[in-house]
Amino acid sequence: MAYIGFSLLLSCNKDGFLDRKPTNTIPQSDIFKSSDLINAYLNDLYLDVPGYERNLYGNIADEARTYWPGGSKDVVRGNWGPRSNLMAYWPYDDIRKCNTFLMKIGNSDIGDSIKNEYIGQVKFLRALQYFKMIKRYGGIPIITKPQELTDDLLVEKQSIDSCFNFVINELEGAIELLPNTYGNADIDVGRANKWSAKAFLGRVLLFWASPLYNPKGDVNRWGEAAEVNLDVIENGPYSLYPDFRKIMLAKNNQEEIFSIQYLKPYREHGWDSWSMPDSRSRQDASDRCPLQELVDAFPMKNGIPITSPLSGYDPTHPYDNRDPRLQQTVIVNGSTYGFQGLPVYMYVDGIDGIGKPYETVTGYQLRKGTDESNQDYYGQTGSDQNWIELRFAEVLLNYAEAKNEFLGSPDNSIYDAIDRIRERAGLNPYQVPTGLTKKEMREEIRNERYIELAFERKRYWDLKRWMTAVERLNGNRFHGMYITKHSDGHYTYEVKPVGETYVFTDKMYFMPFSQDDIDKDPNLAQNPGW
């Protein structure tokens, strides 16, 4: 019997018993042979572009503060550095994927035109990732080929200018290769085409011209930035969406240039959930509570800042007759919110009153971009608005700023760009008063950016690139509104400081490289001051 068993055993002793293949992965050799898999590879590179984030960037400038401990509070306190930096962004894994793609795509036998289209997109995405780093760190290592383990991996950082030059060249190259359109707005907004690449280049050039990255004040950079942005304004397919409130809700509208796409239930975020007052929250609430400073930056409906005696501002009714964008951006006490159509009471001791656990810390909540009909919101999920990375209003503002800095005094095209935004906002009159000096126009443009682009992850970077962060932030405690409800139903308002005192020192203009990387790479010089 044993012999029979043994003979059986020998007969099953075939070659190849140990030749197995993984069943849950695809070998690299298959990927660049199949156009479907190349596409899937490219799709993933889009997935790497950050979309929504919960409550960091909104709460680290002068836009909002949050109830939640840690995170943004550490940034405000200045309690961050090489060993812990929540704003760190170091997507060399994404860059490697782009580099691998660019190296391998050459040998694939898909047609040349589609190949160029793909290369254009990958160059755009790689430039975008690099730009997000340059914005933070200044000079960084530029790597354009996938490194092998046997290569010299101890890389050095490049100068700021050569980093910008690289990104600009890449974007220019992408613009050459990319099509004008994919013929479908739903695709165009989610993928890079010639115009989105150009609009993005406009942003990059604006940064390069800005004081932080342009210490010698080369004014031609402003000119270059203005030119590219103007090209997009004049020749691009974009226009302002008529309803400011619905820009984030009307998916893939004419104002969107490049967006991170969401669709329930495949890819969701919690934008609606994060804005909830506690009384109607589900597992999250009060993630960004707008500051009084932001509220005050919105002019009156007549376009005049509230600080002007001519504005008609009434401190006992602070939210009346304001720029319509104020209440489209901020939930104020007593305004209705959410699918139930109920008012939100944030006065002291109100049901969602200031200072209670999980409630507003400023007397306000965020309304911008929220879908008030949404009933699915829960924790980090339930919403599927697109994250608009770049929209036409920004191009107008980029242009206005660049042109104003380039010229000795503002020309009509600058007024025109700002007026277009104010007109859409519903100001009456919407025209910026004429005759502003370059400096006055600069302030006008900067305020317009503050309110128009609030909570779109622009403000922190703007304060840095203008090098106004120390002045605006350091040592300041920002403010909230304490509202008292009286027995007869009327409210009185008192502005009080809230949250931590901000610490922003000069060295923070450029973030430190992670200590881990400094420890590993002796060639990577740490940024000054860290």
Partner: protein
């Protein structure tokens, strides 16, 4: 070599399969058998015919003979040796005749020396008890002639003059006795220490302890069952030197984490598990019914583990289940009922303590009070209701019960062991939703078919059920800690109170998570003694294992009713579940294995030379498959089947994988005069997980033993009389570890660049697929290799009352698979592959000392065992700029980095005069840290290694003692660990984690100006930037001594039992984890999660009964 072996075996099998069924050799095992029957057996085996006359065989007694592999002629000599018969063989016919009385023989008193044959008789007795020994083998040295003593210890044998008799008996020292003119012999055999003849289970075989040259420890089932373990792994700690076990939690069904000889590699250090010869998972080991265990041995050195080649580097746990024994069927019942309770779990603050501490914390933070004086007063007066979440969620005790019944018996031809077991282990939840159940069946049958063929069939089925709410036990403990003492459980109208977050009382019965884990195993074992070469046998195993896990998770939100103070409903808040919704996730996981091996073994003695050999081929194949379904948007709660789910958000997923291994093993043992022992082994292992070019690995080992006590300078010296046995052994070998190229059971194929499917991208309002690159490939990936040297000493002393074993080992594990994440900059941008890069040295010692004796009616024993090991990283990639003080090289694995605390600043003067700490001037009540780098400030650069020990003890020991007196018996195990540290973190040291969560009561000893010698710093809401950092302040020495298990039994009088037809009955009280002594207060020193969110270890007290009938 492998090729040649294969060819040889084919010839053998061809030869034998073409044979006509008759063998040239005879195998007989006769006891009181008439001679005619013996002849008929020989005829059946060989085809020889026998001829005799009735007269020839008349008046002859039945014979006893045991013959293996002899020729017909030799076999007949044995059979007829004491009889006045002789025989002639012509062709295939045997003629039996009466012996002629030889005239020369008649003159034997004249010339006795020339007398060729004579008969001796005798009796064999135990030298100590003087009782006769039955079944003793008596052989003539150098001959195949022999016999066996009868039940009176008597024997009779025909020998040649000048012969020597070799008298051997299992458990007794073999004696060689020269025979002079004696006719009647009185032979005394002395028992050797019980341990020495103990059969030790080793890889692919068994060996007597006295012949062992490897480092192996074994514990038998009897001791295991005395610990009444609910999980088998919990019974091993403290019993086997070299085994490190930590029991990190006490959830129903949970066990201990086991490693052998400490930590030798990064990544997975767990031992290989082999159950009845077949490699199984550790999970399966833990599921075994402890009542079924015959023995568990752990293989420690290379000599023992090299036969497991690429999987043996971290030691092997060998489990042998019980088999039947010859005799009438014996029924055995063992059952107990008991209670479990946490060994140690700290209390939480009550409402008043909470409120006062919170106000104090806010004062420290410069914030206004949270509670007004009036509110504090109301809480203190009991006007403000409070909730004790712990008491409302958890019972003080949880029941446990186990029942096991087995039948065991058999004949020489057929032996069987059948058992059925049941275990129910309840959890502490008040809802009774948390429990573990295990049902097990086993059937082990051994059959001898003919003289040479034995077949064993082991069948086992184990079904275990893990049940809980949809919140894990750990989560519930975490939520009990977090729950706010001033929250209600229910609203006045009985609906669930809105706590906003955790609600432990509702969580324990919200939804469910049911896991059914089913394991079926069938193993066929065949062994055939090959008749043509004495001592050669061919065998094999075929085993199928099937395990499938069905898991159903029913997530049900807790519908909290938020009401205002008048009881008006403001909202119904769905907390938890799947995004506030009902959802079901059901998964099915299947893992099927087949193992097949064939082996050729050889075992023979040539005079002083004993030779054993093993050649083995083994092939392993596994197929795994997984799928799951998910649905949500159920129309109503309570419809808990997938089919009720809504159409949106459905998900289905699945996966398969397979694994294969092919191995060749050779082993050779040689011993000379039982004094010099040698062993050599080699395993060649092939695995699917490695690239084709390097798929096979070679793992050799050598060992030798020297039985010093057999040397004349010990044996013949009266001064050394106390030495009964003394053996020195040493081994060296190379063993592999491939766990780190597997993800669980799944080979990872790290030699190829692979891409995985990523999450969907949305494009044009549709999900589109994405693929993401996996880990960078390592085309030359290979095994981790451990070079293990071991030197050991076994001794039996003082009439075998003392048994001592000492082992020292040195193990260098090189080629350790480790991704160079410490040194390669992240700008590479890839997930790094594991490379065969690192080297770790591990060395240690193990001691085991046992003492048995008898005083009057008291039989007692004491045993002490201990093991200590320490490792050191010899090679690892270090970051280029790492400070020397934080380097891993030269330090043990798993050291703890933190700040060196100098205590708490007692006064403001002390705090303000000290350095700035983390950018802030410290205050009184803060922890003071040492300025390590001397830069007059405390920051991240002042971190040091605060402990080279971690939560895996480097030293572990066990002390067992017990005995029996009259009808009482006692068995006690103390267990201890040393060189072990725990770093408390998170909740266990932080106030109001998250800002408002409750705190452990022991934190009340916090610093205030009135309590400057406090044990904890000043309170803070949540993490304090200075006081919540990992530091020596929170490092605890968690060495401990634990009364691990105790078993006190009373055997009921046999007289009484006879009346009720029971053979034996014993009632017992048993307990585990009775108490623990440790410097670590508040927590069990084996705490599984130093945050405190874990299910605590349980003390168990059982009342049980053992019945045989």
């Amino acid at each position: 070599m492998i090729m040649r072996l294969t060819t040889l075996l084919i010839i053998i099998s061809t030869l034998t399969t073409s044979a006509t069924g008759f063998s040239q050799e005879v195998n007989l095992s006769l006891k009181d058998i008439p001679l005619k029957v013996a002849f008929s057996q020989i005829r059946q085996q060989t085809g020889y015919s026998f001829l005799w006359t009735e007269k020839t065989l008349s008046d002859l007694p039945p014979i006893n003979a045991s013959v293996h592999g002899l020729s017909v002629k030799e076999a007949l000599k044995v059979c007829l040796q004491r009889l006045p018969l002789t025989f002639d063989i012509h062709g295939k016919v045997v003629y039996i005749k009466r012996k002629q009385v030889n005239p020369v023989e008649k003159n034997q008193n004249v010339q006795p020396a020339e007398d060729p044959l004579r008969q001796v008789t005798g009796v064999v007795i135990d030298s100590a008890t003087k009782e006769p020994l039955a079944g003793v083998t008596i052989k003539v040295e150098g001959k195949t002639v022999g016999t066996v003593t009868d039940t009176q210890g008597k024997f009779s044998l025909t020998i040649e003059n000048g012969s020597k008799l070799v008298v051997s008996y299992l458990g007794y020292a073999t004696r060689t006795i020269p025979i002079g003119s004696e006719i009647n012999l009185n032979i005394e055999l002395s028992a050797i220490a019980k341990g020495l003849n103990q059969l030790i289970v080793i890889g692919y075989g068994k060996i007597q302890k006295k012949d062992l040259t490897a480092s192996v420890s074994q514990v038998d089932g009897e001791k295991i069952i005395k610990a009444t373990p609910s999980n088998l792994s919990n019974a091993l700690v403290g019993r086997l030197p070299g085994l490190i076990a930590v029991q990190p939690n006490g959830a129903p069904g949970s066990g201990s984490e086991i490693s052998i000889r400490g930590t030798s590699t990064f990544g997975d250090n767990s031992a290989l598990v082999v159950i009845d010869g077949i490699v199984k998972s550790y999970a399966q080991f833990q599921q075994l019914n402890p009542n079924d265990i015959a023995s568990i041995s752990i293989l420690k050195d290379a000599s023992a583990t090299a036969v497991y080649g690429s999987r043996g580097a971290n030691g092997v746990i060998l489990v042998t289940t019980k088999t039947g024994s010859i005799g009438k069927p014996s029924f055995h019942y063992n059952g107990y009922v008991g209670v479990q309770q946490p060994t140690l779990y700290p209390k939480l603050m009550d409402g008043l303590q909470y409120a006062k501490t919170r106000n104090q914390a806010r004062k420290n933070m410069g914030l206004p009070d949270y509670y007004t004086t009036q509110e504090i007063k109301d809480i203190g007066d009991g006007k403000t209701p409070q909730t004790n979440w712990y008491n409302l969620t958890l019972n003080k005790n949880a029941p446990i019960t186990s029942h096991d019944i087995s039948i065991d018996g058999g004949t020489e031809k057929l032996k069987y062991f059948l058992s059925a077991g049941y275990l129910y282990q309840d959890g502490l939840y008040k809802s009774n939703d948390l429990y573990y159940k295990r049902y097990s069946l086993r059937s082990n049958v051994d059959a001898s078919i003919g003289e040479n063929l034995t077949i064993s069939v082991n069948l086992s089925a184990i079904v275990s059920k893990d049940n809980g709410s949809s919140y894990s036990p750990e989560q519930i403990f975490s939520d009990i800690m977090a729950a706010y003492p001033m929250d209600m459980v229910y609203n006045p109208d009985g609906t669930i109170f809105y706590t906003h977050e955790q609600h432990p009382v509702a969580e324990i019965s919200s939804g469910y998570n049911k896991q059914s884990n089913n394991t079926y195993d069938a193993t066929f074992n065949v062994k055939e003694n090959l008749p043509f070469i004495d001592g050669l046998s061919l065998g094999g195993q075929i085993s199928f294992g099937r395990s499938h896990i069905l898991d159903k998770n029913y997530q049900l939100p807790i519908f909290m009713h938020r009401e205002d103070s008048e009881g008006n409903l403001l909202e119904i808040y769905p907390f938890g579940g799947y995004q506030g919704k009902v959802a079901i996730n059901k998964s099915y996981n299947e893992y099927n294995t087949s193992t097949i091996n064939a082996r050729l073994t050889y075992d023979n003695i040539f005079g002083n030379n004993s030779v054993k050999g093993l050649l083995l081929f083994e092939q392993f194949n596994a197929e795994a498959s997984y799928f799951n379904g998910f649905r949500t948007n159920f129309p109503a709660p309570g419809l808990d089947q997938l089919l009720f789910g809504g159409e949106a958000q459905k998900d289905a997923n699945g996966d398969t994988y397979s694994d294969g291994r092919r191995s060749y093993v050779g082993r050779l043992n040689y011993s000379f005069k039982e004094k010099f022992l040698f062993e050599a082994t080699l395993r060649v292992d092939g695995s699917v997980a490695f690239p084709k070019s390097g798929r096979y690995g070679y793992f050799p080992a050598f060992s030798a033993g020297w039985v010093i006590s057999e040397e004349p300078f010990i044996k013949n010296k009266t001064a050394f009389n106390f030495i009964n046995n003394l053996k020195l052994r040493a081994s060296y070998g190379v063993v592999g570890n491939d766990k780190n190229v597997y993800g669980g059971d799944r080979p990872t194929f790290q030699f190829e660049q692979a891409y995985n499917l990523g999450p969907a991208l949305i494009s044009a309002n549709q999900p589109v697929p994405t693929i993401v690159p996996g880990v960078l490939p390592n085309p030359s990936i290979t095994w981790e290799t451990a070079h293990i040297s071991d030197i050991g000493l076994d001794a039996s002393l003082f009439n075998n009352k003392v048994a001592l074993t000492l082992d020292g080992f040195y193990k260098r594990t090189s080629n350790i698979l480790l991704a160079r994440i410490r040194s390669i900059p992240s700008t590479l941008g890839a997930s790094l592959p594991a490379e065969n890069y690192a080297i770790v040295d591990n060395k240690g010692i193990e001691v085991s000392l046992e003492y048995n004796d008898k005083v009057g009616g008291l039989n007692y024993f004491v045993g002490l065992n201990g093991s200590w090991s320490n490792n050191k990283v010899v090679r690892i990639d270090e970051p280029a700029n790492i400070p020397v003080g934080l380097k891993q090289t030269g330090r043990p694995l798993g050291f703890i980095i933190g700040y060196k605390a100098l205590g708490i600043f007692k006064t403001d003067e002390e705090a303000t005069s000290y350095y700035n700490q983390f950018g802030i001037q410290p205050s009184a009540g803060d922890i003071k840290y040492a300025d390590i780098n001397g830069d007059e400030k405390i920051d991240v650069n002042d971190r040091v290694v605060i402990s080279e020990n971690n939560s895996t003890p480097k030293m572990i020991w066990g002390l067992t003692f017990g005995g029996s007196f009259k009808r009482f018996d006692l068995n006690v195990l103390f267990q201890g660990a040393a060189d072990v540290n725990q770093l408390l973190q998170g909740r266990s040291i932080t106030f109001f984690r998250g800002g408002s969560q409750n705190n452990f009561k022991y934190l009340l000893d916090y610093w205030t100006p009135q309590n400057i010698n406090a044990k904890f710093p000043r309170p803070w809401e949540g993490d304090n930037p200075n006081n919540s950092l990992p530091s020596s302040f929170y490092l605890r020495n968690s060495s401990f001594v634990r009364l691990k298990s105790i078993n006190l039994g009373y055997s009921i009088s046999p007289k009484f039992l006879e009346q009720v037809h029971f053979k034996e009955a014993r009632v017992y009280l048993s307990g585990t984890n009775i108490f623990v002594l440790s410097k670590m207060k508040y927590w069990d020193p084996e705490i599984g999660n130093t945050d405190g969110s874990y299910y605590p270890q349980q003390r168990v007290l059982n009342l049980g009964i053992d019945l045989s009938f």
